[in-house]
């Protein structure tokens, strides 16, 4: 049985996928995950999830973000000087996401 492994580096951070392990049950999966994924890299917590329980939808199957122009949904569409630091940070995160999606 295959178990997908998610590692959290520090308290409060997100668990992100880091690989998988072969194990007959949950207890063994937790042990193997520690050995294979928790030893060298900074680790605060690990999750193990049976691979068959993971549902997936990918970019071939759907169009993430829709098929029409939704530029109005992004702060980059508005020529406005951000009123506050937190608005500017949010706008920067959005601009970065836009760049990574390849929209701009």
């Amino acid at each position: 049985m295959i178990w997908e492994v998610f590692r959290q580096k520090k308290t409060g951070e997100y668990h992100t996928h880091c690989g998988n392990v072969h194990a007959p049950d949950r207890e063994m999966a937790k042990l193997f995950a520690q050995i294979q994924h928790g030893r060298r890299k900074p680790t605060n917590s690990l999750w193990v999830v049976p691979q068959e329980e993971v549902g997936e939808v990918d970019a071939e199957e759907t169009s993430f973000g829709g098929t029409t122009d939704k530029s109005y949904r992004w702060s980059t569409a508005y020529n406005i000087e951000p009123p506050a630091k937190e608005v500017e940070e949010s706008a920067n995160e959005q601009a970065e996401a836009e760049r990574q999606r390849g929209d701009s």
């Binding site: 308290t11 409060g12 951070e13 997100y14 917590s45 939704k70 109005y72 949904r73 992004w74 702060s75 569409a77 508005y78 020529n79 406005i80 951000p82 009123p83 506050a84 630091k85 937190e86 608005v87 500017e88 940070e89 949010s90 706008a91 995160e93 959005q94 996401a97």
Partner: protein, 313 residues
Amino acid sequence: MNIDEVKERAGPREFNPGDDLPEEYRKAATRMIQFHANSEIMGAYLERPFIRQSPSIDRKLAFSAKVQDEIGHGQFLYRAAESLGIKTREEMLDELANGKGKFLNCFHYPMENWAEIPMIAFFVDGAAMRRQATLKRTSWEPYAHAMDKICFEEGFHVKHGESIMRELATGSKKEQEMLQDAFDEWWPRIIQFFGPSDDKSTHHDFAAEVGLKTMTNDELRNAFLNQYLPKARKYNLEIPDEPRIRENDDGTFEIEEDDLDWDEFFTIAKNDYEPGVGQIEGRANAQEAVEWVRDAIEGDDQPTAGHTPTAAD
């Protein structure tokens, strides 16, 4: 963990559903996050009728996207609240419908015209964002994670809100007058957004001690005034004479608290303010009207048998 250990360990994103936390912490966090979630939903319901009044197709698209986002924020927050194990999402939605659920003062007031939209979409959203940015460091990890996603989206909301305000402020004389009227009416409510000053706030001390809140009402109000008063002036809005605001040399502000209507504020806080009661009932009716959709999704009922679907509005 007992409450002293909680206070000892309290810090940003320190506690998660895997921790054994005392009921006192979980109840305080539930009250705070449920209030926040309810506010997202009630704000969205207040703005929703104005999607149809948008002055252009661009505004209509953006404004409906914004309202949709707010409903989504409510969903994240009910999840974060539910993960404390005190109330289920269903219980919280029922409490909102039956008038027990509390929410932000600004969303108890009726809105009548498009010129009022920037009061919510710029000033109230801006105030909310100021507060939410500090909640990225709250001690309940699922709440902080919800804030990551919410703050990511809010940048668009606030800039779009300001864009609407700029359009009105640079529009016809009539539009400018309507904007000023809206501002006169909403300004005291916006100041009250942050609640009473620190020495009158009832829940602050405990929430701060266990790391749920990271800034006081006064600190947040100061930061808001610092950033948003200049914006109001930039669009030639005349700041109402009351509440009197004194600007100190160190960049902080003092509000003459007696200039604000605290009787109304606390009537609202008890869900007893008449227009707000109507808004709670309006949302409850909408929730009931689409029960057949939920039943159909859950698949445990025959939704169309003998039942005529009704529109949510």
